[in-house]
Symmetry: C2
Subunit: 129 residues, 2 copies
DNA sequence: ACAAATGATACTAATGTGGTATCTTTAAAG
DNA sequence: CTTTAAAGATACCACATTAGTATCATTTGT
């Protein structure tokens, strides 16, 4: 099972390229050329990233894309959730039925703890890598 | 995005029921009745669990399923991989192209570290919860 | 022999992922 | 003020995965 889909993967690459580029405005065409991602697909991804304010777009001739903030402020976590939605381990396994209210579901606690750790860690990963 | 699919979820419930049951042999019919999982689907899951040696089945009249070992020795991790395969975050984002060999991909390191943590934690979660 | 259980296998429906196609809007350059 | 090079919007399609069904074969206690 993949935890990071192709969308996210491509998006990361594009963002990294933007971060590394010295000219601050980069066109989709350039990204297609260097990243070898199918043009219409990449364009869709860029549009999504734009809507989520992860990058900024400029229309018209001479337009393109650029990062709206420093690369080390862009969280991997945000890119993942942009494409894959909030990733949750699971709702309660037992839908509150069997859960003994004394222990308040050790299992659930543990899983939530793991979840939290992953999120906190993912949040430390930025584009500046 | 779900990290635990319905298969896994159902399987966990079934295993927990087996663990909690005092009679050690439980039929699929009984599981269907109490867990309210579609019969043919549950039967498929049980067959898979049997093949993976996570539970043991007995055919014929009076047959059924039981746990082959103590509930606290059955790892959530194993159940997950049984149904969802080994879960990997992602191959290398850059397919070894851009990776500067000096830093040997900080990103990748971090991700692997997170992955390892999740696995180690998941391995601590057993059916005895 | 029969009935009650699981095993094996093939099929179907719904959803998600990866990708395409087409048309509209914006804005700089000539 | 027209052309042209960019992005925006939207609808569509192919394939894979997930969730679930159906059917028949095999085993085993009574």
């Amino acid at each position: 099972m993949k935890l990071i889909t192709r969308d996210t993967d491509y998006a990361i690459r594009a963002l990294c390229y933007l971060a590394a580029s010295d000219k601050d405005m980069v066109t989709a065409s350039e990204l297609v050329r260097v990243l070898k991602i199918p043009r219409p697909f990449l364009r869709k991804l860029l549009q999504i990233l734009n809507k989520k304010r992860i990058l900024k777009s400029y229309k018209g001739r001479g337009g393109g894309f650029l990062l709206p903030k420093a690369a080390d402020k862009i969280l991997l976590m945000d890119v993942i959730t942009a494409f894959q939605g909030p990733l949750r381990l699971n709702e309660c396994f037992f839908k509150k039925k069997m859960c003994p209210d004394t222990k308040v579901c050790v299992l659930r606690r543990k899983i939530i703890a793991i979840e939290r750790y992953v999120f906190s860690q993912l949040r430390t990963v930025t584009i500046a890598s």
